[in-house]
């Protein structure tokens, strides 16, 4: 009996090992074919040390945590309690050296791990990972409960980068479509937020050290972008959107410093979301990467034509109007506004190519962060100004230029956005 049990324990210890083969795990996961169609494919994980614990040098997972969040000051959020979760126990069946996930959670984490490895390599191509800490921490199946005084709301069908904690979380998915854990575009989108976060801090520190801003101004800039949430993100199903209506002609609006901070913060958030959508496209090679997971977000398909017809004064009114409704952004979402910018980047990418556009967008983030930290309290930085800032080094030539003017028709048709002429002088 004792010998038998001893043999049993030895065999158990042997069975619990799931070591990589030459440092590589081969895993079977659902992958997109760049058109929104998913199928099971065998992929390789190169940086995972323990597949059952989902731990590696690129990313490490914790699972089943819980956050209770309430409204903080300055429109941000604070966590009342935070349980980051525990080390996962992923299950696999080994068939001929290929690990087949034995349950949904294991498959979802394996897919996310694969995408984080690939996304890191994607951003490495233009030094996008500089100053990012690895392994990145991912909280899987984390429950986030929102207490904003109107009862508890659990965040579902979402994934996010949390700047103050420098981690990613993937919330439970309750819809019938493709869970976000499998959506590479969604994960690349969230990853961009971490890259932009680093660029912002770098610009802020550079301006502080150069004496262009004070420590207090730096802290206010930091606080203004610390957490960027839209109340729409808390809804179980994102409402659909078909574009902003044509603006009324109400004239300009005089704004004090606090209002300037708020509307510039909104524009920052919109730009952040728009660029993130763009990089989601470049990683997934599918302009409609989000639709398989969140069909109501079809407006964010980068290939869908869009017209943002609001001039500078109109943009101020549009954003300020949204803040007046019970203090929450109930009908103006940073994702909708960002979709105009991502559409522009998509068109640029078709003309300049992916590599040039990715680099241009990466450099633009630094220029914008520099401008934001010095000017966000002084004046409104409009959408049109962002477009001009993007093309500062390289003006768009026709027909791209005309398309961009059509997207931002409210600001760029007044004659002060000139196009480059083939063979002629490039206007800066």
């Amino acid at each position: 009996m004792i010998v038998w049990w001893g043999l049993a324990w030895v065999s158990v210890i042997g069975c619990n090992k799931m070591a990589p083969n030459g440092g590589v795990y081969r895993v079977r996961i659902p992958l997109d074919d760049h058109t929104g169609h998913y199928s099971l494919q065998t992929v390789e994980l190169h940086t995972v040390k323990d597949i059952r614990a989902m731990a590696g040098s690129t990313a490490t997972f914790l699972a089943d945590g819980k956050f209770n969040v309430f409204a903080g000051k300055n429109g941000g959020e604070q966590a009342a309690s935070a349980n980051f979760g525990s080390t996962p126990s992923a299950e696999f069946i080994d068939v001929g050296g290929v690990l087949h996930p034995a349950d949904f959670r294991s498959m979802a984490m394996a897919a996310s791990m694969y995408h984080f490895e690939s996304i890191k390599n994607f951003y490495d191509r233009f030094r996008g990972n500089e100053n990012l800490k690895f392994p990145r921490l991912i909280l899987f199946n984390v429950g986030v409960v929102h207490n904003f005084g109107v009862g508890e709301v659990e965040l579902v069908n979402n994934a996010a980068f949390v700047p103050s904690l420098d981690l990613f979380w993937i919330n439970p998915y309750k819809n019938a479509d493709v869970p976000l854990a499998f959506n590479g575009g969604a994960l690349a989108h969230e990853y961009l937020h971490s890259v932009f976060n680093v660029k912002f801090h770098a610009a802020e520190m550079a301006n502080l050290e150069a004496g262009r801003i004070t420590a207090l101004q730096a802290r206010r800039a930091e606080q203004s972008v610390a957490e960027l949430w839209s109340s729409n993100e808390w809804l179980p199903n994102f409402p659909s959107f078909n574009g902003f209506p044509p603006p009324p002609d109400d004239g300009d609006l005089e704004l004090g410093k606090n209002d300037l901070i708020k509307i510039n913060r909104f524009i920052y958030g919109s730009l952040n979301e728009g660029i993130a959508d763009y990089y989601g496209y470049e990683y997934s090679r599918n302009p409609g990467w989000l639709t398989p997971s969140l069909p109501t977000q079809a407006f964010r398909d980068l290939s869908v034509a869009k017209d943002f017809s609001w001039n500078v004064a109109g943009q101020k009114r549009l954003i300020m109007q949204s803040f007046s409704v019970d203090g929450a952004q109930t009908h103006l979402d940073v994702h909708w506004a960002g979709a105009y910018f991502s559409h522009m980047l998509y068109l640029v990418s078709q003309q300049w190519g992916s590599v040039d556009t990715e680099k241009a967008a990466f450099n633009f983030m630094g220029r914008y962060a520099d401008k934001y930290t010095t000017d966000h309290e002084k004046r409104f930085i409009s959408m049109g100004e962002l477009v001009r800032l993007f093309f500062m080094d390289r003006s768009p030539a026709d027909p791209l230029c005309q398309k961009i003017k059509a997207i931002f028709s409210g600001e760029l048709n007044d004659g002060n956005f000139l196009c480059a002429f083939s063979g002629g002088t490039v206007w800066r």
């Binding site: 009996m1 038998w4 049990w5 049993a8 324990w9 065999s11 158990v12 069975c15 619990n16 079977r28 659902p30 169609h37 998913y38 199928s39 099971l40 059952r52 614990a53 914790l62 699972a63 089943d64 979760g85 525990s86 080390t87 996962p88 126990s89 992923a90 299950e91 069946i93 080994d94 068939v95 087949h100 996930p101 034995a102 349950d103 949904f104 959670r105 498959m107 979802a108 998915y173 819809n175 019938a176 479509d177 493709v178 869970p179 499998f182 398989p292």
Partner: protein, 179 residues
């Protein structure tokens, strides 16, 4: 698997008599629960059902236990996984005293035959795997009528990287075997 269970039943049929011996056989129903991540309070609990057969000789007992459990479909309609488990184990028990309704300690070992169906946008894939399983538990066994008895069991089990608890109740045929 069904063949193994049948073989066990035939082997322990009332025709094989060894003094004051008893044979218990009956269906069981219970639950199996395990943590979804190390140290987490988040647990996955599933209904289990099956069959138990125990041959009792004085304070010693042994037999086979079969259970089926499945978490059902997990995921979304578009991408989902369904896992089913057939757990077959041989168990040895030591009854603390040789009386009716004596508590016992038990150790067991066997196999979990796992089937996983993965569906992605309408296309399904099926994979099967076999894992060694071991368990350690306590229980109580006794007669409630001339030829009927009840068995209650609670045990800690481990297979693959799953560590959990299994509880069940079994009510069945429990005759004494004649010499």
């Amino acid at each position: 698997m069904k063949g193994i269970v049948l073989l066990m039943l035939i082997y322990l049929s009332p025709a094989w008599a060894l003094g004051d011996n008893m044979l218990f056989i009956g269906p069981l129903a219970g639950a199996t629960t395990y943590s979804t991540s190390s140290g987490s309070t988040n647990r996955d609990t599933q209904f289990s059902y099956g069959m138990e057969n125990i041959f009792v000789h004085d304070q010693w007992a042994g037999g086979l236990v079969y259970q089926y459990f499945s978490p059902g479909m997990e995921g979304s309609q578009t991408i989902n996984v369904t896992q089913s488990n057939h757990w077959l184990a041989a168990e040895g028990k030591y009854r603390l005293w040789n009386e009716n309704f004596s508590p016992y300690v038990a150790v067991g070992a066997g196999a979990v035959f796992q089937t996983v169906y993965t569906t992605v946008m309408g296309a399904s894939d099926k994979i099967q795997g076999t894992f060694f399983v071991q368990d350690l538990g306590i229980g109580i066994l006794g007669k409630i009528a001339d030829d009927f008895g009840v068995s209650l069991s609670a045990k800690y089990y481990q297979f693959s990287n799953i560590n959990g608890f299994n509880y069940f109740i079994s009510v069945g045929f429990f005759p004494s075997l004649k010499n």
